[in-house]
Structures are given as structure tokens and as C-alpha cells.
């Protein structure tokens, strides 16, 4: 899977590359407008991470260029502005998702995962992890062919873990993923425990191996 990171802040870009590379994505980097333009016209990417404020031009023009070239690359806008207009115009121009800075790398990875899956053909939309099968579009989870009924939050959580396979995810990243902006308002992330606990229990009751590990009581890791 190829990911293009268009970001002028090199430290941030390097961290993104480092995290995503560990997820078996092949990452390329473009740090200004002309570089980005050159890369998108020459290659095909599964997902493009696009910072809107670039030296040499506006990120939205890159979206327009992609549209003009009739490219099918998935695009996630990454912006420091968190401006509603940017979000709306970006999504109208064909971006798949919008992520405001600052963000957790695990959140980024989960978004990349779902953008790529969403754009893939039907068979790639079914994740097979040993005895566990997840049908993404139908939102169906099966263990050894038996359906496990999950709540909406538990399903989101499972996909989040799978999208960050082999990575340690902090509690605050999970809280933000589950509650969105509401995480800002919550002092305690205790509500996560309940969701994680329920998910773990449902999976193991169905006979699924314990892939989800709790680390030092502060983070989680989906290991397979």
C-alpha cells in the first residue's frame, strides 16, 4: 500500500512516515507544492495525506489537479486551520476525510486504513485475522463463522485496533476516536474501559484468541 504524505513540517512528516511504515505502508514524502504536484501526476497512491497550507501553493489546488487528472487516489486532508469552509470545500473537491491538527498517529493510521478499505473492491473489504472475519461495509463480525453482535462503539473500537495492528495505542487516542470532539469535555477516560472490556469479552466468548493486549494499564495493542 502506497501513501503519499504532503506536509511541509518535516518533523511531523517524519513521525507520520515512521508510524505508517510500521503498519506496512510504503510512504513517500512531498514537502512543497511543486513536489506534490510532480508526484501525484506521475504515480498512483492508495492514500494521500494532504496538508492544506503548503509553501508554493494551496493544498486545495492539488485536490483540483487530482480531479482534473481523473485520479482515484484516496485523500485525507490534514489541516491546522480546522475551518469549516476548508473542510466542506475539501470534501466537495473529492477528499475522503478531514483530520485537524493536532492528532494522534493512531487516529491517522485508522483513517488511512478505512479510506483505503472503503476504496477497495468488495473482497478487500473483508478482513481476515485467523478465526476473526470482519465485513467492513456490512459491519458484520464473525468468529469461526459465527456472528458476534457488537454495539456501534465496540465495532468502531475493533476497526480502530485492527487499523493500528501491532501498535500501542494510548488511552487518550482511543477516547478521542470514540467520542470525537466530546473527548474535550470529558475529564475521565474511564468510559473506554467499559467498551474495551465488553469487546474483549464478546470476542473471547465467541472463541477468538486474545489479540487485544493491555499494556501497563495505560495503552492497548492489537497483536496478531
Amino acid at each position: 500500500m502506497k501513501v503519499l504524505i504532503i506536509e511541509d513540517e518535516l518533523q511531523l512528516a517524519a513521525n507520520m512516515v515512521s508510524y505508517l511504515s510500521g503498519q506496512n505502508y510504503v510512504c513517500e514524502l512531498a514537502s512543497d507544492y511543486s513536489q506534490a504536484l510532480a508526484k501525484i501526476s506521475s504515480y498512483r497512491y492508495d492514500c494521500i495525506l494532504l496538508d492544506l497550507m503548503l509553501p508554493g501553493g494551496n493544498g486545495l489546488s492539488i485536490l483540483e489537479e487530482l480531479k482534473r487528472l481523473k485520479k482515484e487516489d484516496g485523500v485525507i486532508i490534514i489541516s491546522a486551520k480546522n475551518a469549516l469552509e476548508d473542510k466542506i470545500s475539501g470534501l466537495e473537491l473529492g477528499a475522503d476525510d478531514y483530520l485537524a491538527k493536532p492528532f494522534h498517529l493512531s487516529e491517522l493510521s485508522a483513517r488511512v486504513f478505512s479510506v483505503i478499505r472503503r476504496r477497495s473492491f468488495a473482497n478487500a473489504n473483508i478482513i481476515q485475522h485467523g478465526e476473526l472475519t470482519v465485513n467492513l461495509p456490512a459491519k458484520i463480525v464473525e468468529v469461526c463463522g459465527k456472528t458476534v453482535v457488537l454495539t456501534k462503539k465496540e465495532f468502531e473500537l475493533l476497526i480502530f485496533f485492527i487499523g493500528n495492528r501491532g501498535r500501542v495505542i494510548s488511552k487518550s487516542a482511543i477516547a478521542e476516536h470514540l467520542s470525537g470532539d466530546l473527548a474535550d469535555m470529558l475529564d475521565s477516560h474511564d468510559f473506554i474501559y467499559a467498551h474495551v472490556k465488553n469487546l474483549k469479552k464478546k470476542l473471547s466468548d465467541a472463541g477468538c484468541g486474545s489479540y487485544l493486549k493491555t499494556l501497563y494499564g495505560n495503552g492497548y495493542k492489537w497483536d496478531i
Binding site: 469549516l84 493536532p102 478521542e176 468510559f191
Partner: protein, 430 residues
Amino acid sequence: MGHMIKLLDKPLRAFTTYSMIVLLCSIPAYFIIIDLIWVHEINEHNQLVAEATKKNLVRLNSDQTQLLAAISLWNTLQPETKIQPVRALKNDSTYNVYRKDNYNADGGYDRFQGLVTYVEINRQPYSLIVEANVEESYETIIAITAITILFFIILLVGFIKLNKNISKRLWAPFYHTLQQIKAFNLSDDKVVQFAPNTIIEFQELNDSIARLMEGNLSTFKRQKEFTENASHELQTPLAIVQSKLDLLIQDDSITADQSRLIEETNNALSRVSRINKNLLLLAKIENQQFLAKQSINMSSKLSVMLELLANLIETRKIAFQVHAECQVEANSTLTEIMLTNLLMNAIRYTCNDAKLDISLFSDKLVVSNAGTYSLEEQKLFLRFGSTSVQTPGSGLGLSIVKEICDRHGWIVSYNFTERRHSFTITFNSA
């Protein structure tokens, strides 16, 4: 401050007082002058009569008997004159008396001015008294006072009328300027346009005020821009720190202690991010970036929000009562943010088993929860006004609520009764 009067009433009062004093002083002055003229003229008249009488008596050139008869006849026919023999000639003198006049029908007192002069006829000195009726002093003074009061009333009416006219024309630009200043609102970002004026002072006043306003507006604008820019600039370094922490926890050699440190750093970092996000939101609201309005049904909006919240607040009891449907004209995004902040604020301070009440009326929304002591209302809606070690929120949630209410012309208020905190949003019923 004391007693306040309108600018234009001040000169009116002064003018009125001044003209009253002048007119009051004029009463004795007029009286004295008129009386003096009267007396002077009467004296002259008496003098003329006396001189003529004296000359005629001397010219008669009659003997003593004839003379006495003539004098007696004269005294009888002319009541206000009297000729009588005296011992010696003296200097002329005048007198002024009030006397009952026998010829006056109403029998009142009359005032007389008299002249006593002397003449020698046939070597016998005689005194000659000539009198004339003068206008009585009190009658003069009454007449003068009456006229003065009349003129004073005319002046007063004139002053008031003139004052009204002047205020309408001359001071109109001033009152116009005053209206403009009253209507001026810093956050509207609108410079007041003053009409050009032909009066130098008003033009200078308008120019100075316009300069002041522009200065204020640009300072305010710069401040807002600064907040927005600063928040933007902070997002990227925050993202770098966040991503570095995310990478750090991937390290297998991390100990439990280090992991705890990272998680604590993560929490502090989330708090910084959320403060920054909220500051940015406030700056955006102030910069009028949420202008689009639409009709919103409050009860359905609240239901949707409560459903979203349900995952996070399942342990808490929420009673949502709709007493009446409530439809408002508002910005949808801002309304959601306001409701979220209000609800989360209440949820945060509600114990697990306590009940949270949400009541919706046609013109207001009340969110209340149990509490132990009243909060400080003045500080509650200020930025960072309520932050403390005990409240780990961003310290901006309620000021965002207030800002959003201000934008929509709604009123947010807090009160603490029967050990319950309640926040009320009063929507514009109009």
C-alpha cells in the same frame, strides 16, 4: 452624578433667572424715574400757575378792599390754591401730601404736589399755595409690576420656544452623533459613518470620534487575528509533540513508570490542545465566521445530542422534559456547540447517581443538576474564569456558551436554588 438635566435646559435656566432678576430690578427703577418725572412736571406746572397768578394779582393794581375781595373769591373758586397774608416773604417750598379729596366720588386718598410761593401786594406779603393732583405711588407701582410680569411671561415663552427651535436645528448634529456612538458595537466591526457637518466643532467632534472608533476597531481586530493566528501556529508544534509521544510508546523497552509519565504528558497535551481549539473557536465566532442561520427545532436537536452522549453518560440519569416546542433561528454549528458545552458542563459536575434535568420551554432551556455550593456567577462566563485544580476543563466552555448566546441575542444566566445549579438560556421570544 446627582441631578441630571439636558444640555439645552442649562442656558434656558440661566437666561430665565437672569431676565427675572433684571425685570425685578427694573420695577423700582421705573417707579422712581416715572415718579420723579411726574413730580418735576407738576412742580413746573405749579410754578407756571403761581407766576401767572402772582403777576395778574399785581397787575390788578386795586385797593386793599378790592384786593381782599378778589383773594377771597379766588380762594373760593380755586380749591387747590390758597392766597393768604403772611408776616414776611420767604423762599419758595414744595410739599407732597396724601389727602382725602372731597370731590372724589369714591372717597379715597389722593396725592397732591404743592408749591408754596410768596408775593408782596400793596406792601403786604402773601403766601400763594398751588396744588396739583399726582398719580399715587402705589398705583404706579402696581401698573409697572403688572406690565413687568406680562413681559416676563412673554420672555419666558419666547425662550422656551426659541430653545426648542435651536435644539432642533443647531444641536441636531450633536444628538445624531450621540445616537451613532450609542449604537456603536466593537464586535460588529462596523465603522460609524457621520454625516458631514458645516459647524467646525461638530465636525471636529465627529472626526475625533471616528478616529477613536477606528483605532479601537483595528486594535480589536488585530487582537482577534492574533488569537486566531497564534492558535493556528500552535496546532503544528502540538501535532509534532503528539506524534512523537505516539511513537515513543511504541518502544518495547519502555518501563511501566515511563509509560505512566507518557500517559500523563498525553493528558496534559490533550488539555493544551483543547484550550487551543476552544480559543480558536472563540476567535472564529468573534470573527463572524458562523453567520449562516437556519430554523432549528430545539427538542429534536437535543434528542440527537443526547443520543450521541448516551455512550458516555450511561451511568448518569438524565431527565429530558419538553414542556413546549421551541423553534429558533440560529447557526446550526454554534447551537450544537452551545448545547454540548452546556450539557457536558452539567454532566461533568453531576455525581453518578444524581439526576440531571433538562427542561425545554417555548422560549427557554433550563439545564440543572444537584450541587453543594453556589458558583461565582460573575466569573463563571469569563475566559479561564472558573479554571482551578479541581476543574480540569479548558476553562472556556461556558465563555463559548456566552459568546454564542451573545451572537444570537440570547441570554444565559446561572442560579443556585435548593442546592441545584441551573443554567437558563432565554431565547428571543420575538
